[in-house]
Amino acid sequence: MTQLSRRRFTSAITAVGLAGLIPSQLVAKTSSAKLVVIGGGFGGATAARFAKRLLPSLSVTLVEPNPEYVACPFSNLVVAGVRDLQQQRFTYAALSREGITVAQDTAVEVDNEQRTVQLAGGASLSYDRLILAPGIDFRWNALEGYDEAATTRMPHAWKAGPQTMLLRDQLRAMDNGGVVALSVTAAPYRCPPGPYERASLIASYLSQHKPRSKIIILDSNERFSKQPLFLDAWQDKYPGMVEWRAASNDGRVTRVDSSSMRIQTDFEDINADVINIVPPQQAGFIAQRAGTTDGSGWCPINATSFESLLQRNIHVIGDATIAAPMPKSAFSANAQGKVCAIAIVRLLNQLEVEATTLANTCYSYVTPSEAISVAGVYNSGAGTFTNVPNAGGISPAQDSNQLRKNEARQASDWFQAITSETFL
């Protein structure tokens, strides 16, 4: 792994001048400081790495139940059969090599009075600062009939892994002329453009292998990310194949029955051959146990420090947070992980945390070789995120194949870069 930055010789010397002003006991005091990070995704793994690199004497423990991470970005390409799930897998070996203790265990309780994290395996970890990066949990039965058992017939594939393969295999097994239904929960949910990218790539697969089939998107929302670009792409590339129903157009799914493979909207019963549910979501379980969630099920934070508004010394990053207008994306989580690590290291050294500017970008494939993007720039001052005006937005509407092909190549490079920074 390369260094945090390519530091300039001259600025290193300048920094020494400043460093001379830091009382030596200050650094000594933080030497025994303990940081625990719960969750080894794009947010948590990045935060652990950056904190350790910024403050090598800091004790950093990453708690993550899975021995490897299966990345969600690009997993829609796996669903469409044009990418191997193996390319989505990453281990924590590089983090271990850098001196981070990787505890393969599940955090089951947080006692913020005692500043301890209880692990399912019985161990207890103490912390000075705690980062929660638990991602999302599904709210089983919040959509009537959709519980954990139902996922074996109606996959969500909204956490990558076996569910991704199940959805891919169901599409492969479906007859030509079959109907695929994709139910999208009301925002906020992980990866706002994800359902529509998925519909695009499923349509791409169907148009090649089962051209008489259809995909219907039953949406609990009135509008969606990159909407005009997706609608254009569907019309242009998959005419007649993709139907999108807004919530007000009877798109809202109210009940599912996995045994009969039926879903209900307000006014209709729909049978489909493959049913993919993007379920209602909330912050990962441990965020609730730690007392960091509000009535919405998500975590309010101070955008400048990422510290929970409900629990001191606990910071929350990534999908679990209420960070709008920053979306719940891998890019956001990764950027937040770095800024949060900087904030914590500063706090441990009695330095004030500074407001900054962060950005996000999300690429979505509309075919396996063409992509579109959305970007945003956000200020983190005054404790909340605000859009920087006259910046960000979606790819140009003009239908230039070259533009879409270039963005697909950029997407691929982005995936390489972000996974390398987080895991390799």
Partner: protein, 113 residues
């Protein structure tokens, strides 16, 4: 920056610190303080977002790695993205959200002298 280069840089830094502080600190704490001051600076925090696409060591051809670029080159490139009204890439759309002062800080931080 390679590990070798890093250690070369820190050598004179350690010497300088030893001469300008009244209470000598152990070398480990010294390099840690430097890292801490620089790594958590305003510029470092601003630049943190960049490596989400331009990670050191990444070798894409559609998104370039910033390895080996000078501060001036990064500054010039960034400004070109900021100011091109017809720019269509995600970078163009993001660049427009940064001030000239921020671009300068980021370029100085990420670039070689």
């Amino acid at each position: 920056m390679s590990g070798q280069r890093s250690s070369l840089l820190l050598m004179p830094a350690v010497l300088l610190l030893a001469s300008c502080t009244s209470a000598p600190s152990p070398p480990a704490a010294t390099s840690e303080s430097i890292n801490l001051r620089e790594g958590t600076s305003t510029a470092a925090t601003l630049a943190a977002t960049c490596s989400g696409c331009h990670a050191p060591g990444s070798n894409g051809d559609a998104i370039v790695s910033l390895d080996g670029y000078t501060s001036e080159q990064i500054y010039t490139g960034f400004q070109r993205y900021r100011q091109d009204p017809n720019g269509a890439t995600a970078m163009h759309r993001m660049a427009r959200g940064y001030s000239t002062q921020q671009v300068q800080l980021i370029s100085d931080y990420l670039g070689q002298p």
